[in-house]
């Protein structure tokens, strides 16, 4: 993808980046709607249902409101960093998704299109490292706001992110050991194999079947990384008002919200890719593909469509899972959060590595 890129490859590249950008930009408004309607569903309410079908256009109205609200800058903030903070928290969340494969590749004669904006050799490390940059935005916001509540929020956030990033990173090591790769496309492709054949039922080699404990730790840490309940201490509405984004209004607040949802989306995509086969088709889809009776290029495109939909179904399920958990359980206290991170999750993830190592050594997996 360097010197020899022709016009076609360039346009494919730009198309992929645009696709990711466009999809991610839709995540925040859609998720805001899902969250509001979903919580209403769980709480015997209706939720926004006036504008558009099922209230879907409510988010558009919200966006218009955000854009046209007066863009105030409080007098007591450190202006440069204060303005920079929302950007710093949003950009990494967009960057991480680029490395996640959303479907396998298709061969078009001379060209092969990979459905992954950036097929990096160190994809997993890239996602982890760029993902952890987001915390700088939060720290910056808390500090530059020059407000005690904001500062407390950003302090909570930074310690929380550091503590849970550790278990997040360690929980993935099990996956790396089993698939012996840090390239996300390879990890996704490797999960297509069959782990067990129980009569007609074949259990694929998805990460969750090999790494159940790793999955639990990763998911929990992902909740903490995305600042969602029960780990939404940086915002902790009832304790520190709104935490780091207390002083932000209009679109700048919306940018923080967008970053949160995009982070959620990336986290869901990572959970799907590492533990649920990524773009590997859902059970039954393969036979659907065979039944369609197509061949050649049509067959290939159909396969891509099915893979894409499988991937997005998984991601949407986990997005819903995030919403589901948020409206069910209470919030941790700061010290309990730290206890859980350091005293439970960290030893467990180390144990997971040890167990995986033993299993690999004895050639069980």
């Amino acid at each position: 993808m360097t010197a020899g890129m022709d016009l076609f490859e360039w346009s494919v590249m730009i198309g992929k980046v645009l696709f990711v950008a466009v999809v991610l930009l839709q995540v925040a408004p859609l998720m805001a709607w899902v969250e509001r309607r979903g919580s209403a569903l769980m709480q015997n309410r209706l939720g926004p249902n006036r504008i558009g079908p099922l209230g879907l256009f409510q988010s558009i109205c919200d966006a218009i409101k955000f854009i046209f609200k007066e863009d105030t800058v409080p007098g007591h903030v450190e202006k440069f960093y204060w303005l920079l903070a929302p950007i710093v928290s949003l950009v990494p969340s967009f960057m991480t998704f680029l490395a996640i494969p959303i479907a396998s590749s298709i061969n078009l004669g001379d060209h092969t299109i990979h459905f992954q904006a950036a097929n990096l050799d160190v994809g997993l490390l890239y996602v982890l490292s760029i993902g952890s940059l987001g915390v700088y935005g939060i720290i910056m916001a808390g500090w530059a706001s020059n407000n005690k509540y904001s500062l407390l929020g950003s302090l909570r956030s930074s310690s929380q992110m550091i503590s849970y990033e550790l278990s997040l990173g360690l929980s993935i090591i099990g996956i790396l050991m089993t698939f012996s790769s840090v390239q996300l496309s390879e990890i996704a492709a490797a999960q297509g194999q069959t782990l067990l054949q129980l009569g007609p039922l074949s259990i694929p080699k998805w990460g969750i079947f090999i790494q159940p404990l790793g999955f639990l730790i990763f998911t929990t840490a992902a909740f903490a990384e995305t600042n969602r309940l029960p780990f939404d201490l940086p915002e902790g509405e009832s304790e520190i008002v709104a935490g780091y984004h207390l002083e932000y209004g209009s679109m700048k607040f919306a940018v923080f919200m967008m970053a949160e949802y995009v982070n959620m989306f990336t986290a869901s995509a990572m959970i799907s890719t590492l533990y649920f086969g990524g773009w590997q088709m859902l059970p039954g889809m393969q036979s659907l593909l065979t039944l369609s009776g197509t061949s050649g290029l049509t067959y290939e495109w159909l396969r891509i469509v099915l893979e894409l939909s499988s991937f997005f179904i998984k991601v949407i399920f986990f997005m819903w899972f995030f919403v589901w958990v948020r409206w069910t359980i209470p919030r941790f206290r700061y010290d309990q959060l730290m206890d859980l991170g350091w005293k439970a999750m960290l030893p467990l993830s180390l144990l997971n590595i040890l167990a995986t190592g033993a299993l690999i050594y004895f050639k069980v997996i």
């Binding site: 769980m42 709480q43 005690k148 009832s238 206290r333």
Partner: protein, 414 residues
């Protein structure tokens, strides 16, 4: 380190205390945070100034009075009837309970007997108010700890209860339902049946809420052992109501000083042990169930009959008399413009309000207005304990504690 810092600024090291925290490098890393009066967890307008070490509240003091409306002074400048409206705004989550207590207080001072039906309706009202108030309290406590759905389950039932109350008196929140010597209006036909249906439904909802939250590990972590206030401390701070019972003080005025017909209904008084946030939550949840039982029994025992006392002094003249006779019109005019005289004397009447002992102390000099009107709002005593309870805990604990003692600013500031 301290010495050099002190000298650099040309200050003597007097400010460095001997018993300083060795982890505290600069000696002044405490932050003073002003929590409230406008803070999402400070329901009403309360203010706490907390000295934080990290997230731990080292020292704090609480202030109140941001919603002071001179209720007691107003009581001395309004006729006894006019003051009913003001009692709604004491504990606005259980306005009916205040209405009932106030009416009882004035009736006691005057020696007015209220007919049976009115008393049963008043009892249902008082218990409805208790259910509503406790639903709000446990719900808001859960919201502050982060469980929002729990709150809305209860809120739905609360709205249904308000619909029942609306059928009684036309208002939902500020009811002003009682009158001295009777009630504003009789309960509509079939109201008891609706109340019973509501009780059945609410029982299910309470069980559901119980299942959703009580066993939750995070909830237990956040509430058990938090804000512990033992029996002695509760006595020292004059705790009453569910907050006192959660610490093991077996005192319920409905049972110990039965007013109205509380002798004729059966109910248990739930007692806690540890006096922490969890026990207060459990006490309130159980009290909702007991109150529902009382409402059910009252709804069974209620019979048709008059709702007004026969006492001419307090009875509001009937409309047909007012519209058709001159004497009636004059009586009506005098009644509402001047009010009725209350014989000289003083009386303190208490009732087990939703938050604790709710009392009205009225001194009369024979005028249509009280000479002195004092109100014992239980929140005042509970609020004093917020600082000692939350010191040494985290900010998040303080929020949980404040929710668990159910401070209602209207009752606190009056």
């Amino acid at each position: 380190m301290h010495e050099t810092l002190g000298n650099k600024h040309g200050v003597h090291s007097e400010h460095i205390s001997v018993d300083h925290d060795p982890d505290d490098l600069w000696g002044d890393s405490r932050v003073i945070v002003n929590i409230g009066p406008t803070h999402p967890a400070m329901h009403g307008a309360l203010r706490m100034v907390a000295k934080l070490n990290g997230e731990t509240i080292e020292k704090s003091y609480c202030e109140f009075g941001y919603t002071h409306r001179a209720k007691e002074k107003l009581g001395e400048n309004r006729t006894y009837h006019q003051f009913v409206v003001y009692t709604d705004r004491l504990n606005y989550c259980s306005a009916l309970s205040n209405n009932v207590t106030y009416a009882m207080a004035v009736e006691r001072l005057m020696g007015v007997e209220v007919p049976e039906r009115a008393i049963w309706i008043r009892m249902i009202c008082a218990e409805l108010a208790r259910v509503i108030d406790h639903l709000i309290c446990v719900g808001i406590n859960a919201v502050d700890i982060g469980a929002f759905s729990f709150f809305l389950y209860g809120f739905h039932q609360r709205e249904e209860a308000y619909t029942l109350i609306e059928k009684l008196c036309g208002a939902r929140l500020t009811t002003s339902y009682t009158r001295i010597g009777g009630l504003m209006a009789d309960a509509p036909e079939g109201w008891e049946k609706e109340v019973k249906a509501w009780v059945q439904k609410t029982r299910k909802v309470i069980d559901e809420m119980d299942k959703l939250l009580t066993g939750n590990r995070i909830w237990l972590d956040r509430t058990v052992g938090v804000g512990v206030f033992n029996k002695e401390q509760c006595m020292q701070y004059s705790f009453t109501g569910p907050s006192a019972r959660a610490s093991g003080i077996d005192r319920d005025l409905r049972r110990d000083q039965p007013s109205m017909f509380y002798k004729e209904v059966e109910f248990d008084v739930p007692i806690g042990k540890n006096g922490d946030v969890f026990d207060r939550y459990m006490c309130r949840l159980e009290e909702i169930r007991q109150s529902l039982n009382i409402v059910m029994q009252c709804a069974d025992k209620i019979k048709p009959g008059p709702i007004w006392s026969e006492d001419k002094r307090v009875r509001i003249p009937d409309k047909d008399v007012v519209h058709n006779t001159m004497e009636g019109l004059i009586h009506h005019f005098k009644f509402f413009m001047k009010g009725f005289d209350v014989p000289p004397g003083e009386a303190y009447t208490t009732f087990e309000g939703t938050n604790g002992e709710l009392g009205f102390y009225i001194v009369s000099k024979g005028d249509p207005m009280a000479h002195r009107m004092r109100i014992r709002g239980p929140s005042v005593w509970h609020y004093q304990a917020l600082s000692p309870m939350s010191e040494g805990g985290k900010i998040a604990d303080m929020v949980a504690i404040l929710g668990s003692i159910n401070i209602i600013a209207g009752e606190l500031d009056r």
